[in-house]
Structure formats: C-alpha cells, structure tokens
C-alpha cells in the first residue's frame, strides 16, 4: 500500500499517460461552482439502494451457453480454460 501506481499500470496499457484533452476537461470541473448546499454523493443517481437489492442466487447456465463460453476461451485444453502464468510476485 502507498506505492504510487502509474497510469500505464492502472490501465494495463503500454505507454499510457495523461493527455491534454483530458486535462482540459478536468480543468472545467475544477472551476465548476457547487451552488447546491446538498453535496451528498451517497445519494447516487441511477443506482439500486441496498434495501432493494435482491439476494444472490445461483442459476445454472444452459448447455449451449456453457459450450459457447468454452468456444470463447482464448486457450483451451480438454474443455478447460488454460490460464496464463500466475503472478509470481
């Protein structure tokens, strides 16, 4: 913890760095005036409140769905997904 992560690491994109066009968008927000006294972002728009969340349920996939998931594996052996090397560090 505390180790600063650069944008290329955060994004998993080689050479990623801040662009001027994004900085320009941010500058507008920084200068924006909050006129409303109610700045409580906990009241998030377009989200489900915790009280309304349904319980998790396990629903088995159909056979055709399972087969398509396997067909989409980037690397497959005997119907199992071959994963890349695990993280050693």
């Amino acid at each position: 913890m505390g180790k600063e992560m650069t944008l290329d690491v955060l994004s998993s994109i080689k050479g990623a760095e801040a662009s001027q066009v994004i900085e320009d968008l941010f500058e507008v927000i920084k200068k924006g005036h909050l006129t409303d006294g109610n700045n409580n972002i906990a009241h998030t728009i377009n989200a489900v409140t915790i009280d309304d969340l349904r319980a998790d349920e396990v629903i088995n996939s159909s056979e055709i769905e399972r087969n398509l998931i396997i067909e989409n594996f980037p690397n497959e052996k005997n119907n199992f997904l071959v994963v890349p090397k695990v993280i050693e560090e």
Binding site: L10, S12, L25, F26, L34, D36, N72, F73, P74, K85
Partner: protein, 467 residues
Amino acid sequence: MSSSIKALHKKLINKEVSCVDLVQEKLDQLKSSDYNTDNYILNDYAINLAKKVDTKIANGETINLLEGIPFGVKDVYLLQGTYSSASSDFLKKYKSPYTATAIQKLLDAGAIPIVKENCDSFGHGSSSENTVFGAVKNALDPSKVAGGSSGGSAVNVAKNFTTFSIGGDTGGSIRQPAGYNNVYGLKPTYGKISRFGLMAYASSTDCVGPIAQSLEDTQIVLNTMAGKDYRDQTSFSSEPVSDESITSALAKGTKIGYYKNFIESEAISPEIKAGFENMIAKLKAEGMEIIPLDFFDANMLVSTYYALAMAETASNLARLDGTNYGVRETGKDLKEGYSITRSENFTAETKRRIVGGNQVLSQGHSEEIYNKAQQLRQQISHHFDEDFKKVAIVLSPVTPNPVPKIGNNLKDPMTMYLSDAYTVGFSLGGLPTLTAPLAMETGVQITAAKKQEAILFTCANFLKQVL
C-alpha cells in the same frame, strides 16, 4: 399508414410477400451496400426464422405484429451464438453465450435480427469512425459521418435496410445519429428497458432504445422491449405508451421550455439557430406557452459527463484482459500479457477513455474530479426536477452544428466531445429524450420528466404537423 411495421405485417398476412423474400431482400441490400453499416450479416440465422414465419402463415396461424419483421442490432448487444465485437479487434471472434433481454423480447415477439451493426468501438465516439470495420457513411451524404455511436443502426433505418434498429445511448449515441440521418431515435428513461446483455460503457447512463422511420414504429418497439428485468435491478415496470399518445393533440397553452444558453451560445451554427427560432415562433403562433430556462454551461455538461463516463468505462473494460475470452497476447509474465493484449486490441480512442477514467479515479484526482463531477451531476439532476415543475417539455437542438465530414472527428477529440453538448445533460439526468427529424438539419430533441415518454410522442406528432 406511416408505420412500416404495420404495412409489412399487412403484406405478410395478405401473402403479398413471403417472409423469406422480405428478409432476403434486406440481406441483399446490406450485402451490396458500401455504407459500412454491417459488422456481421446474419444470413442463415435470419432465413431460418423467416421460413418458420412462412410456415405459420401457410398453416393459417395468426402471427404477431412484429412477427417476421427484419431488424438490426447494434454490435454491442449479445445475441446467442452470433459474433458480438463492439466494433473492436478485441472481440472480433467473440460469440455471444446468451441473448440480451431487450433483444430476446423482440425475438419472443417474432421479429427477425438480420445484422449486427457497425458503431463506435464500445460506444466510444460520436461519429462511428472509431471502429475497426471502417467508418460508417451518412445515409444522406456519404462524404459525411453517420454520427455515433449507433451510426450503423441509424443509417440502416434511413436506407431502409432494416425496418427498425436497436441502438444504445450513453451520452447521445441514439439521438445524435438519428438526427444526422433524418430518422427517429429514442433514449427512454434510464431503467425503462433492461441493460442485461448490453456491453457496458457507462453503466449509470447506458440506455437501450429504438431507431425507426416513424413515431408509430418507435412506440411499438419501445413497448415491446420495456419492463422490469430480474437480471437488471435498475430496470422498472412501466405502462406502455398508448396509441392515443401519438394521435392526441398537444393542448393549447402547453408549457414548453428551452435552454437559453444553448441557443445564445457562440458555438451554435447560424442555420441550427435559425431553425430552432423558427420552430419556437411557430409554436407560439399555435398558442403554446414558451418559457426560456437557464441551464448549465455546455462545457460544464460535457466535462462532467466525460469525467464520469470515462471513470465507468475504465472500470467496465478492466475485465477485458484476454484471460477468459477475446484475444490473448502473451508476454514474459502475466502483467505484460495483459498490457500487450490491451494495448494492441483497443482503438486509440478507447485507450484514451480508459486512461482518462483511471486518471479521474486515481489518488488525488478522485476527490477533486470524480467526487466533484458526481456532485455536479446531482445539481444537474436537481435542476431538471425544478425545470419540469415549470414546463411539460424541453426542446433543444440535437447538436450545435451540422453533420461533419468524415475524417475530422478523430483528429480533434475535444471537438467530438463538444458535439455532444446538447445531449449529455439529459443522459446525466436519466430523462427520456426523443430525436425527431424536424426543424433543423440534425433534428430536434424533445425531453420530458422521468417516465413521461408519452408526451414525447404527442409533442413530436404535433411538431410534425405544424412544421
């Protein structure tokens, strides 16, 4: 009869055309088109469904209104067993394991998907140039952009390659291409149609919606797709938009608002401004009460929207690392494998938005930018609540400027972002907004309070008559 769906239904039941011939004609048009609207043409899939409809008709069975009607699907929706690429190299060979709820409802009603449509990759764009399938050409002038991100869908409808198409709208991606191609495009209230099976761009503003040539077809398709879905907890149950909503008159004295700063802006083109003012003058002459309203600066709307949308897309696309599906490139270790995979298979604009999103969410910026953008969004939403106590409808242009030529947008991302200035605010508010191909080159945007879709149809029909 202005409804293409009803006209085709009548032809099918009167046996004036077979469903196979109808579908084949559309497939042939798509195959011979050079508008770059299709990523995948669903030839065998569509013909098999069409044969079943013909069998039903031959057996004297009743068919539903949408049964046998060919439609297009933006290539960000899953349709089981077909490719769903999001117009990216990353998912070019990805096969949908299941079907999006909205598309399943259309399938259940008997409609026939015939094409997965070209669009900006992962919805990231306003011109349908950010795609690995080639820029979509505008239906009215092929040297111009189709608009985006649902550009292929809007062009297919405008060229009559599809009877209707299903687009996706996060910050204007249905409304703007509809306006650019002279067709209707509806972004419903957030949650009216399930997002399950739509590849997420910015989950808090993503909406599913129809693009069609008429208000009647827009209504039919909206009513078919709407409703609460177990698989999308932000969806809600709603009453269908009635036929009377289209045919009834807009009452004299209806309070219609518009945002002064949109029209008085130096950024608006003289033609769009003149078209808008002419429309307002006619509405006044028809006895409507016109109320100018104050609103947020367009730059602020665009910046707030993009900061939040980029943050959400950075999170949503983090899952694409080549582990479970999509392309996988190998590196000397796992992290490098992720990095090569993502660097080589996302487009430049998608990478810009992912990196921008991580910038928003990173330490230091999250309070200054992300949290403040959320607060600004709340203010915008509150502002809408107050506005719709004063007026029933807000009218605005869809875009400040006419349709641009192909080749300019991607060179200048800021210009592209600013072209969304008049659509993104309504997305942040989750409001229902309809583009009607009237009054201005890029159409008029009709907006109402949440869940008030019906008045959009009444107002659009009224405008169609008086303009």
